[in-house]
Symmetry: C2
Subunit: 231 residues, 2 copies
DNA sequence: CATGGACAACTGCTATAGCAGCTGGCAGGG
DNA sequence: CCCTGCCAGCTGCTATAGCAGTTGTCCATG
């Protein structure tokens, strides 16, 4: 009975999501937040009654996490949390930069006019939030900006992959300091330039700018080291 | 009993893989090969006894396919095969090109010497296979080349994502003609140049060349149209 | 004829039970 | 003391049963 030692709390009935989905997010957050440390073993049964649910949803979540590269399970042996060191985190950041770049390129080609208008509204909000140094609102707007852009591509694979990568990004943000203090004007200029490329329907330009934006953001957050990364 | 109409044959005991894994691959192949057409509904139970197995492995496979963007399920409503038109296929190709590019960049930094030697061996084999016009051996070598390169990155997320994307690639290859007839020398030159960039430990160069290689390959296969794609 | 409501037949989702394989320790023979 | 084989206790994995929503049909009612 080592179930008591498992650093996970039972699932509340928070929302209307399926137990499998909730277990997935819970475990994912547990991994990126470090409460489930790399190398630690996760038993389907133990984790199940630690969460107060059955074993299937847990197993389902573990299979999805395995596809995300967060855990690795040896058949009939056990499931362990994968190692996510700083270098691995940097890799994932570069991957995310590349994918967001492709998303921007696709969006530049397909994006509807109303979505562009919505992005323009968001950027406008960013400008005021930057002036007011409202980091919280800025984070919210930033998330919406990327979400709309990715959603505009209509590509499920892209959206799902970036969603998974975003979880890792939170991990990087936790290990480094909190949110970025004084690069907000820089981020604002980058968003403006990205929007301009989107409006101009220039895929290559949008991709380059988006990629640079993500890489720069990761660099100032300490996830990436040298400023000469990935071109 | 509409189970008889489901275009899937029962699972043989082919290998030692789990039923969930086998169902995942079977369904994935069924989708990319067109036997499970877009828009068609997939019932867990029906598919289960069509495959001669229980419902859980099928459900498990469906959840993974959903994360790949191949199916979309409405809670308590049903699961349907997602639409994968030519334009979506082109998008996925560009995504794959970007990811393989990042993989090449990472490999250029981290790759061990013995892996480089193995790649050199493979490229040497490609040279003779190209001279002999042995398309089958060439496809095999090509697969090994990319597999070793991706494996050298040691990044699970990258490997898993590219594995899923490769399935879509097969779909594109099916819709277009068969394997490439006369661009083999071009592919050989590209592999040689990629290997050179890897040996030189030049991440940016390796990435650019790999990305160009994949995009060019997709273009000659008819998956991509204009030669001015993605930079 | 139109309309509304109940019922049957689905669906995805969850829980329980039990299988087969692996591991580690403990006893018994060398 | 060391080695070997057994065995209990794990593990992931699969099957069965049943839950709870959704949908479509069919009959009764206005």
């Amino acid at each position: 009975m080592s179930a008591r030692a498992i650093p996970v709390e039972p699932l509340a009935e928070e929302e209307t999501l399926s137990l499998g989905e909730r277990a997935y997010r819970r475990l994912r957050d547990g991994i990126v937040q470090g409460t489930l440390r790399p190398g630690s073993r996760i038993s389907e049964r133990s984790m199940a009654n630690a969460l107060g649910i059955s074993a299937q949803p847990v197993r389902e979540a573990l299979r999805r996490l395995e596809q995300d590269g967060m855990v690795v399970t040896l058949p009939r042996r056990g499931t362990v949390v994968a190692e996510i060191g700083p270098e691995r985190l940097a890799e994932l950041g570069r991957i995310r930069a590349a994918l967001e770049g492709v998303a921007a390129a696709l969006a530049a080609e397909r994006m509807a006019g109303e979505d562009l208008a919505e992005l323009a509204r968001i950027v406008r909000g960013m400008r005021t939030a930057t002036a007011a140094a409202d980091t919280e609102a800025l984070a919210e707007l930033n998330e919406r900006f990327h979400a709309i852009l990715q959603g505009a591509t209509g590509n499920l694979f892209l959206v799902k992959s970036l969603e998974a990568l975003r979880a890792y990004d939170d991990l990087g943000r936790l290990r480094a300091l909190g949110s970025t203090p004084k690069d907000m004007p820089k981020a604002l200029r980058e968003h403006v330039s990205i929007l301009a490329a989107l409006k101009a329907r220039d895929p290559a330009l949008a991709e380059a700018r988006m990629r640079h934006h993500v890489l720069r953001s990761l660099t100032t957050n300490g996830v990436l080291a040298a400023p000469r990364q990935g071109r």
